[in-house]
Symmetry: C2
Subunit: 315 residues, 2 copies
C-alpha cells in the first residue's frame, strides 16, 4: 500500500486495535503509542496491545494512556515482521485476515496482513510513521514526537549504528524541537543500568578470555556460573556485544548454556570478519556482523569446537 | 566577526597554522584537520598543531596528513576557550596578538584572538565549521566530512546529550551521505574500550557504595587503591559518569585522591538536583548537572563531609 493511501485508510476507519511485538522494545512501543495518540487526536478510538504488557522502563511513552471501550473494527500491526512475534496473548490475531494493516521496517516481513507498508531501509517503524504523519494534514503533537523520537533513537543505538539514515537525522532534528526532553529519554534508554545489570557486566569482565593473540574474546556463561552469583537471569540478556567492545578484538563470542550439553553461541565481528559465515558451519546464521548458532556437547567439547573454528580464521 | 567575513578572511590569507587544545578530543582535532583539509583544497598552505601530539585513537582524522613547509602567516585557534588550553608546546601563541582568528563554541571563551567567532549554542566547533563551509562555494569533501562528523558526534555523545541541536542533526544527515563510514567511526569513539579501561570500570563497580536509600552513589579512588590494582593511571580518567549510571541514583560522586589529604570530587546529578550548588559549598563549581570541588583532610574526614552534605539534600 502506498503511503498516501495509508493516510486515507486511517481517515476512513475507526475503532483501532494496534498490535506491538512481544518482548517489546522502544520502536514497537513508540510506534504503537505514537500511532494511537495520533489517531485519538484525529477523533478516532484506538488502543494499544502487547502480549507481555507494557514495561515500566517505557512508562513515559504511555503516561496518561488509558484503554478505551469500543468494539474493535480495524487492526494494525506495527514493527511486527511475523505473526510468531505476536506472543501468546495476541495469538488469535495470527489467523489469516485478522490484521488489516501492517507497518514495518523489517526486510524479512512475512506480509501476513491484508495490506502492508514495509520499508526495509527505514531505520525504525517510527520513522515510517514520521513519514506518514508528515504527509497527513495534522501536526505532530508533543507526545507523538516523544514516541517517534524514542523509536528512532532506540533502533539506531542513538544514531550510532549503520542503519541510521539521513532521514532519521532529519526526523530527529524536527522532533527534538517539540520540547520532548530528548536528553532525559536518552539517559534513560542508553545510560542507566540496574544494579543487577552492572553486576552481570562485572561477571562478564571477570570471565572473558582472550585467544588468538587477543583478537578473539570468548565469554562463557554456564547455568551454574549464572546461578552461583545471585544475579537475576534477565540481567544476562543482551551481553553479546561485550566481548567485541574490547580494543583489538575482531570476533567476540558469548557462549550461554541453555540445557545440559546445549550451548547458544552469539557471534559479533568487526568489518574484517563474517559472523554469519562463522555460524553457518554450525548450522546457524544471521547477519554479517551479528549471528548465532547452537553447539552440542560438554563445555569442553564445545570450547574445542569453537577454538578450532576460530583457529581456521587465520587471525 | 560575521560568518560571511570568515569565508573572505580564509580566501584572503595563506600559510595557516591551526591550533588545537591540549589533551585533544574529537572536536578540536576534527575542527583542526577539517579546516586544514578544506584550506588545502582551496590551494592554501596549512598545518595543524597540538601541544600533546595527535593521539592514535584519532588516526583516521589525519590519515595521509603531512606537515607542509612554509613560513607561517596566519594563526587560527579552533575549539580553544582560553590560551591556558594551548599547552606547553604552543605557549608562545598565548602572547597577545599571536592568534589571528578563533573559532569556538564555548560560552566561556576569553576572546584572546584578534578576531573571534564564538557561538556558545553550537553543539561543537565542527558544527560552526559546517555552517561556514556551507556558505562558502567549495563543496565538503569526504575527509572534511569525516572530520566534521567526528567532532559533532563526540561532543554530543553521539546526539545523546542536551547540547544536541536540530542543526547538529541536519549537519549529520548531510555528512553521513559522504561515504564516511560513520558507524565504524562511532564504534571506535563510543563502543571500544582498552583492556585497562575495562579493568578500571570493574574496579569502579566493585568499589561503588550506595547511601541515602541508594539515591547517592560514591566511588572513592585513593592513590594506593589505584596503584595496587596495576592499571595505568590514565585509565581512571573520566569515570565520573559511572556512579550516576546506576538506576535510582540521583547524585553520583567520584572522590579521587590527588595528594596526601587532598581529594578531588566530581559530582553528577539527575534533573532533580543541582551539582553546581552542591560543589559551591566546598568552594567549587561547574554546571547544573556536572560540577567539581576539592576537599582537604584524611579520607575519613572527607567522607564525613560528603555524607553530611548529601544528608542535607533530603533525598
Amino acid at each position: 500500500m502506498e503511503l498516501e493511501l495509508i493516510g486515507k485508510f486511517l481517515e476512513e476507519h475507526d475503532c483501532y486495535t494496534i498490535l506491538t511485538h512481544k518482548s517489546p522494545d522502544g520502536d514497537t512501543l513508540g510506534a504503537g503509542f505514537g500511532l494511537c495518540a495520533y489517531l485519538r487526536e484525529m477523533g478516532k478510538k484506538a488502543n494499544v496491545r502487547n502480549s507481555d504488557g507494557f514495561p515500566e522502563r517505557y512508562h513515559f511513552l504511555y503516561e496518561g494512556y488509558e484503554p478505551q471501550e469500543f468494539e474493535e473494527k480495524c487492526v494494525i500491526a506495527v514493527d511486527i515482521a511475523d505473526t510468531a512475534l505476536l506472543g501468546r496473548e495476541l495469538v488469535r490475531y495470527a489467523e489469516p485476515g485478522a490484521i488489516d494493516l501492517c507497518i514495518d521496517h523489517h526486510i524479512s516481513n512475512q506480509h501476513y496482513a491484508k495490506e502492508s507498508y514495509v520499508d526495509g531501509k527505514a531505520s525504525a517503524a517510527c520513522l515510517i510513521l514520521y513519514r506518514l504523519f508528515k504527509q497527513m494534514a495534522r501536526p505532530i503533537s508533543r507526545i507523538v514526537a516523544v514516541c517517534l523520537y524514542t523509536g528512532i533513537a532506540t533502533d539506531t543505538g542513538c544514531f550510532k549504528y549503520e542503519n541510521t539514515t539521513a532521514e532519521a537525522h532529519i526526523a530527529a532534528s524536527e522532533l527534538i524541537g517539540r520540547d520532548i526532553g530528548f536528553a532525559v529519554i536518552n539517559r534513560k534508554m542508553f545510560d542507566i543500568k540496574s544494579r543487577g545489570r552492572i553486576q552481570a557486566e562485572k561477571f562478564a569482565i571477570e570471565n572473558m578470555e582472550f585467544v588468538c593473540g587477543d583478537k578473539c574474546s570468548i565469554l562463557v556463561m554456564t547455568t551454574a556460573m549464572m546461578e552461583s552469583c545471585g544475579i537475576e537471569p534477565a540481567e544476562f540478556e543482551g551481553m553479546a556485544s561485550i566481548p567485541l567492545s574490547v580494543e583489538g578484538v575482531e570476533i567476540g563470542i558469548t557462549v550461554k548454556q541453555r540445557h545440559e550439553d546445549v550451548y547458544k553461541l552469539s557471534v559479533r565481528t568487526t568489518e574484517q570478519l563474517d559472523a554469519s559465515a562463522f555460524c553457518k558451519q554450525f548450522g546457524g546464521g544471521g547477519h554479517i556482523r551479528a549471528a548465532g548458532c547452537e553447539l552440542h556437547g560438554t563445555l569442553e567439547e564445545v570450547r574445542a569446537q569453537i577454538l578450532e573454528a576460530v583457529g581456521r580464521l587465520g587471525l
